[in-house]
């Protein structure tokens, strides 16, 4: 096995770094929890 270097570019349109991808995922998570909270309050 040959060790490989970290690849810094995620290669995803709109994202230059992995930090940006992680922040996007975190934002999605917060949005989903907020939507589920609204869903609970509205219907339950």
């Amino acid at each position: 096995m040959t060790p490989e270097p970290d690849d810094e570019s995620p290669g995803v349109p709109g994202f230059r770094t992995w930090r940006g991808v992680y922040l996007f995922v975190l934002g999605c998570f917060i949005l989903v929890v907020a939507a589920l909270t609204w869903f609970s309050r509205h219907f339950a």
């Binding site: 040959t2 690849d7 570019s9 995803v12 992680y22 995922v25 998570f29 219907f43």
Partner: protein, 568 residues
């Protein structure tokens, strides 16, 4: 099941397994056998990670659980996206950089041989014990409702998984899981769409009024089973230990063309897992609404066992239950209609009263259902091996879906069993080969072809062990719960070892080894105390942060106290 159902079932399940074995039959390179093809892309890795985590129980039991207790279970997944971000940022780059085959190989490089063997041993113990249960749990439900022989289902699932996993290793697992997930998504979406067509107006509002749609609970009580706090914190540690340290998951994402592929595959799961689980629990909540409007809604969904018991010496008692159920069901339906009318009329006060009456009717119905289940378990002790809620979705499949779609949904159950089973066998075989056989016989590591042969043998051995164990479990009804508990309480300590490895650079092998043993004793003590004094029992998710934190604190303490030579 009709001929069409059989064609769909065998065509998909056996077809995918055969295709996987045939396409990867020439795999004789160790790296490909243990990590999959180097060309594997992020989408395949993402699907493989999802397929490994979601077993048949996810698709069979989760809708039933939502039917019975609502959708609050979804909070268990709230820690998952956060854990996957940490795995992507810290765990995966190190695994890739060191070029390890297993997570425990990394422990050997970071600490020493005994810590590596401890990690590998814990994994083999917990996964090995669970390997039989992952076949048995869905097999017992399918055997009951389909009337097939339990041992045939267990042997069938086990042998199919062995054939293609042994043949192609990780390459075969990745390839088949992609197609198995296509079958699973296709089947579940089809069932959902058909269910939507059968629902009454305002079905979601009815589910909400009957207390099934409380998705997020901000109650800080530690004894409450599902809350946002236990989900985010406990779920974070549980997910971190599962995705970061369990070889059956690690093996899915350390392969691939580049680090990027593994990372994107994990982020794919981080974004989609909660919505996917929401879809499954909503299926259960809407099934609940559907059955409120059916005149012949079963009191107990395990119909085969119920009907058999009703013909026995306690038949009169069971008929009385049925009569009470019919009366309560009709009363509840009337109250649903009253509530819907008051809601449509816009009278808030009347709606509140109608809603309270509706919930009372539901409580009376739940109480009767509970009594009926107790009576069934007393009359037929073998029904204790399953939960009645596990039969809800499969009853809907067999009684409400058209032929062809029934075969597709049964294929979903088998495909999910095979996908999780194959990952498990692949990881057990790999860990036994790399962390035990190669570790204890270093000279053998140079002969690559021999390594592949040994890995195939160990994979087959674990498969046969899983089949034998599943057959044995079917005779020991109280064993399943005990094994599930034993397996789950080892996770926190294993995670603690890895957290020390990644973040506490000065801690040596002996310090973390003894800290892990001490932390495991703490977890066992807390768990046992909860069983002795149930009033003080805490939710099981909390054991994850406690056990992990204990391991880290003990390791730092031992490193500070012990002489440098002894600590390292």
């Amino acid at each position: 099941m009709s001929l069409l159902d059989w064609i769909v079932l065998l065509g998909t399940v056996v077809g995918i397994a055969g295709y996987g074995a045939w396409r990867t039959r020439h795999t004789d390179h160790l790296d490909t056998y243990l990590k999959g093809n180097r060309t594997t892309g992020w989408f395949t890795i993402g699907l493989s990670v999802a397929a490994t985590q979601a077993s048949t129980i996810t698709y069979l039991s989760l809708p039933g659980q939502a039917y019975e207790n609502g959708i609050a279970f979804i909070q268990n997944y709230f820690g998952l996206p956060l854990a996957l971000i940490l795995v992507c940022a810290v765990f995966l780059p190190i695994y890739r950089k060191l070029g390890v085959y297993t997570a425990y190989e990394y422990l050997g490089q970071r600490f020493d041989r005994k810590t590596r063997l401890l990690g590998a041993g814990v994994f083999l113990l917990q996964r090995g014990l669970q390997s039989g249960i992952t076949i048995y749990a869905p097999a017992i439900i399918l055997a009951t409702v389909l009337g097939w022989r339990l041992d045939f289902i267990i042997i069938g699932i086990g042998l199919l998984a062995i054939i293609y996993t042994v043949t192609g290793g990780s390459a075969a697992v990745n390839l088949t899981q992609k197609w198995q997930m296509a079958v699973i998504f296709g089947g579940m979406i089809t069932a959902f769409v058909i269910l939507l067509g059968k629902l009454p107006d305002h079905a979601v509002a009815i589910a909400g009024a009957m207390g099934k749609l409380q998705a997020v609970d901000y109650n800080p009580d530690l004894k409450q089973r599902y809350t946002i706090w236990s989900g985010v914190l406990g779920g974070f540690f549980l997910s971190l230990s599962y995705f970061g340290t369990d070889q059956s998951q690690v093996q899915r994402y350390i392969g691939g063309a580049a680090l990027r592929e593994g990372r994107l595959g994990l982020m794919f799961n981080a974004v989609l897992k909660i919505p996917m689980q929401f879809f499954i629990v909503m299926l259960g909540a809407l099934l609940f609404v559907f059955y409120q409007f059916q005149p012949d809604t079963p009191l107990v969904f395990n119909r085969a066992a119920w009907q058999q018991a009703a013909q026995g010496p306690h038949g009169a008692e069971f008929r009385t239950f049925e009569e009470k159920h019919a009366a309560l069901h009709a009363d509840k339906l009337a109250k649903i209609r009253t509530w819907a009318d008051t809601r449509a009329g816009g009278n808030a006060a009347a709606e509140t009263v109608a809603r309270a009456e509706l919930r009372q009717a539901q409580q009376a119905s739940d109480s009767l259902r509970s009594q009926a289940r107790d009576a069934l378990q007393a009359a037929a002790p073998e029904t204790r091996k399953t939960r009645d809620s596990d039969f809800v979705f499969v009853t809907f499949i067999l009684t409400q879906l058209p032929h062809g779609v029934i075969g597709l949904l049964i294929a979903v159950m088998f495909a999910s069993a095979l996908s999780s089973k194959s990952s498990e066998l692949n990881a057990l075989g790999t860990t036994t080969t790399v962390d035990l056989w190669r570790n204890l016989r270093p000279l053998a590591a140079h002969d690559e072809r021999r390594n592949v042969v040994v890995a195939k043998r160990f994979t087959a051995m674990w498969g046969l062990f899983a089949i034998s164990f599943a057959l044995f479990v079917s005779f020991a009804e109280n064993l399943i719960e005990a094994l599930n508990i034993v397996a789950s309480i080892f996770y926190p300590t294993l995670l603690g070892i890895f957290i020390v490895a990644f973040f506490c650079k000065k801690v040596g092998g002996s310090a973390v080894f003894w800290a892990a043993i001490a932390a495991q004793l703490v977890v066992l003590a807390i768990f046992s105390a909860g069983k002795v004094w149930p009033a003080h029992e805490i939710g099981y998710l909390w054991l994850n942060p406690i056990g992990c934190a204990a391991c880290v604190v003990f390791a730092l303490g031992l490193q500070a106290v012990l002489p440098r030579k002894a600590a390292n």
